[in-house]
């Protein structure tokens, strides 16, 4: 365990040194603030709870941004160190390969968590500063949105590790990472939507739709944050969520699986790799 923490600590140290932490935190804070103030303009200040509006817009932002940041951080983690020759030296130390993967993953996760917490936290604080009334229910939804954003980051970091363990070159890992991002964030939903349109209103069984939604972590995230509470009405995701009948624990478990499975595979593959 001490080795895992040592590796994680070094990863965080490197992240602060090469300005990854600063850059991602600033980027997320800037976008969150923009969305908070521009995005809530059309709804005005009456009626809807303003934090609920923020949750809807920040969730959409998360789906694009967090996977991208996570993949950018992680795709280099294993193959990059191999290419630079630092992995060879590290492996000559009394440390297991599993500990290296886990330690690096935790380090990257800490960077992501920090950026999300502070970036989005700034938006909530700014909202409070402008004197908006925010109910306890909305705060809970906001907190769970941040937590699940970090979990979504963990999922894509794990996928990044898997590509990093598989690829023989850094550039290959980078290419695969971008492909993964495009697929899950853009192409998948468009294809799903296209499929629904092609079905021409015929009712698709809930089971099939569930399978399709659970097969994409960004959809799981979307359902989790926009499927219930004040955000569901605003985002029109409530209808889908009701139809699928996937409860929050199921969705959380799906995200957890999406994080652990690729990480497990990455560890196994890395353990067998010779260098």
């Amino acid at each position: 365990m001490r080795n895992v923490l040592t590796i994680a600590g070094k990863e965080i140290q490197e992240g602060t040194r090469n300005r990854w932490v600063l850059a991602t935190t600033l980027l997320m804070a800037a976008l969150a603030l923009t969305l908070t103030f521009l995005g809530s303009a059309p709804t005005g200040t009456v009626g809807v709870n303003r934090l609920d509006v923020v949750i809807v817009s920040l969730s959409s932002l998360t789906i694009f941004l967090v996977p991208l940041i996570a993949l950018l951080l992680s795709h280099d983690a294993i193959v990059g160190e191999m290419e630079r020759g630092t992995m060879q030296l590290l492996l000559s130390y009394p440390i297991g390969r599993r500990e290296i993967v886990l330690g690096k993953f935790l380090g990257h996760l800490a960077i992501l968590a920090f950026a999300t917490l502070f970036g989005y936290g700034v938006a909530a604080i700014a909202l409070m500063a402008t004197g908006s009334q925010i109910g306890a229910e909305s705060w809970r939804a906001f907190a769970s949105m941040i937590a699940s954003s970090i979990l979504l980051g963990a999922v894509f970091a794990a996928i990044g590790y898997l590509t990093s363990a598989l690829a023989s070159e850094r550039s290959t890992a980078g290419g695969i990472a971008i492909g993964v991002w495009l697929f899950f964030v853009l192409i998948y939903d468009m294809a799903l939507l296209g499929g629904l349109v092609a079905a021409q209103g015929q009712t698709i069984p809930a089971g099939v739709l569930n399978a399709f939604l659970l097969a994409n972590p960004t959809d799981v995230y979307r359902l989790l944050n926009l499927g219930s509470g004040g955000a569901s009405a605003l985002s029109a995701m409530g209808g889908v969520a009701e139809y699928t009948g996937l409860s929050s624990p199921v969705l959380l478990a799906a995200l957890g699986f999406w994080a652990l499975a690729p990480l497990g595979f990455a560890t196994v593959i890395f353990s067998r790799r010779e260098l």
Partner: protein, 304 residues
Amino acid sequence: MNETVLVSGIAKRYGKSTVVRDVSFTLRAGETVALAGHNGAGKTTLIKLMLGLIRPTTGAVRVLGEDPATGDFAVRQRLGYLPESVSFNMALSGRETLRFYARLKRVEATAAEQLFERVGLAAEAVDRPVRTYSKGMRQRLGLAQALLGAPRILLLDEPTSGLDPALRRNFYDLITELRGKGTTVLLSSHALTELEGRTDRVIIINNGVAIADGTLDDLRHIAQLPTRISVRLSQIDAAPKWANGGMNWRRGADGGLDAEILPDRKIRLLHDITADAALISGLTITEPTLDDLYAHFLKAQVTK
């Protein structure tokens, strides 16, 4: 237990190409061994096998009694490794880098810091990011991490490549000091001449095969390489008696006489030459260098 590393009959194949075949040797405590061979001969592969980074296709490796690839990796605590052209994270300082490795080896930070002085890394450089280091400084930092925790075995891959002569001497002094403390030092090199007088034993690797293993004297004895003797005569046209003793003397451009002589006849000839000191004005004896020895063993393997 005197033996620290045991390599028996190992081979390593990558697909169809065999990088190392049937290599066996034993390294003992307090021994400095050079792994010599040209680039791509299999030196680095052997070191990786000893580290457990790769597994042998056949044969077995034991490091301090453990299989380095699958065994208890606690033995790595007593192992120092300096990779060929060592690299570190560029953004961290030398001190941060060494602290990180010290934590992994469970070495106290204060004990680690003392190594900077030992390898001669200047105090002002320690807190600078590694990005600003010269090749020599990076190599010193690499050596410092290899020395963490007073290792019983040091595996150094091309440790002196790219170092200037002063640094090189510094480095070999350190090795001598470690040898005195009973550390097994294995260093690979293709610059053989600089190993002269620095190693107890030389293992020559060519095309993945160990073609020679022994002390330098042993190898010289096996190789029976001739010693080169050049004599400058005091009178150009003199024809001394010893000059027609069945040897192949050649007259050099400067009027001197050159001959190559096998070790067993060397002393007698020298005795004859120096018997009449008035005849000669200069005498140079060139023993075969490590490079000659290496070339000899390479040739012997080709003709085999």
